[in-house]
Symmetry: C2
Subunit: 316 residues, 2 copies
Amino acid sequence: MHILITGGAGFIGSHLADALLERGHRIVCVDDLSLGTEDNVAHHFHNERFTFIKLDILNTADFNELFKQHKFEHVFHMAANSDIQAATADVHLDLEKTFMTTFSTLECMQNNKVKNIIFASSSTVYGEQEKVLTEDTGPLFPISLYGAAKLSSEAFISAFCEQFDMRAWIFRFPNVVGERATHGALFDFVKRLRENPRHLVILGDGTQRKPYLYVKDLVDGMLFGWQHAHERLNCFNLGVESSTTVTTIAQMVIEEMGLKDVTLRYTGGRRGWPGDVPSFKYSLAKINALGWKAQRSSDEAVRLAVKAVIGKLRGA
Amino acid sequence: MHILITGGAGFIGSHLADALLERGHRIVCVDDLSLGTEDNVAHHFHNERFTFIKLDILNTADFNELFKQHKFEHVFHMAANSDIQAATADVHLDLEKTFMTTFSTLECMQNNKVKNIIFASSSTVYGEQEKVLTEDTGPLFPISLYGAAKLSSEAFISAFCEQFDMRAWIFRFPNVVGERATHGALFDFVKRLRENPRHLVILGDGTQRKPYLYVKDLVDGMLFGWQHAHERLNCFNLGVESSTTVTTIAQMVIEEMGLKDVTLRYTGGRRGWPGDVPSFKYSLAKINALGWKAQRSSDEAVRLAVKAVIGKLRGA
């Protein structure tokens, strides 16, 4: 099939390109390279089924032109701001990079009669809730602008599906870790411990506990849901049953870096930052019932990711 | 208190201005007059507690300037596209008039440390669901761009509240009728029967059944919720227990216009138009528990509104 990936040179988008090419599809990746890098997809440059185009998809005229040149059957919309904390400094970031890119994608799809969208949503749409989060859980009051932009994207995808006879697969991601990540707690820890191997400051009280999904498992789950779910609008939580605390991540980083006698200092409070959700219970019953489960546990995912980050920084 | 109403010359905004002035507040109404009219608020022009300013609030620089000149304590954000069907012709309409006006309002509030927002949301955020709709109902997959823009607005309001220590009152409106309305089924029926008093075409099969809330009851409910609910984020369904079918509306219009032997023709299908939700069950338990109930039934509201529309068109 002929497939477009927006944000295709980014952390998750590039792993998705790997997997789709492996399965024999033809891929066009667009990316504005604000977070993604050509390095992430350079290993496909020789592949005739792969095309990379540097493009800001908020430029609707150029984006529309791309749709005219290709006959895309499916669009994986991965382009987004991926740094939840960045909104504190700029309230336009999630609005533009996450929400407006979705609207632009939907508009170009509608103009060019492309009917199938696969969207990278997030557990942050749920805001902070005590109950076990299923896909049908309400209310939806996100506490970060990141989550607000993801929920807004879902809302417009849903309306476009109904109004313009499109179909959607919405996947709500937990924290995702692995090769090519550009930020996140473990990434920060490695960088800061390289600067100062004796002290590490941890935001919050360290007990924030989240499921970390390995990026290759995430991509596997998305492709599984996409192939096996056939409603007009298909929404799935993706994740892993187990979870990992921030303190455990710090300990793994310290271990893998071979450091000793590192003093951990906690800034305190249950949130790492305003808008951080300290813990949540994510039901995976729906995707499990369809026949999918993550291969790695949360701890295994973090361990793999820590090794990858350390390896990459050593190589750099 | 010093209060800003966006969309303050519109259908609901102008009734809100009436009620807030009656209660002794100082009001600034802004409106771009795309749907609102100066006529709707002209009766307050002599009132020194009332100011009207023609302003497109998407012009953030001018809007921000207004916030600088005044010390608003509360902002009632009513500015929005109010015509659900219009999106079929222009997908940007709800995005800009409903969602981007909300973002612009939030941004100016944040810049100027204004902490309280009251938002006109909608039952359309729920999409089409069989179950009884409480404020906690999920999933939220709107089927109209109108509903998508309302849900997106809620999402960003929620995130701004958490990130910037603001408070919000979100009211989800059903169909609202009364003086100064600019469209809706009953409005159309009157206009079309004046053109041709023998035939009336009804979209759908006429059995679409919805609760119609009288605009003065709606405003009363909003002000009640605003005064009596004190959470950071307060969300209420507003409505009326009873409901009215489209065919009943047509019959009331025919009666009030004194017409006889009108042939009704139905276009068929359970939806009036793509994105129309043919019926829904709206729980009012939360606002009822707080101590509020609509004074008029749905049929009474429709009857009052029909008389108002006929009276106005006769006067014109």
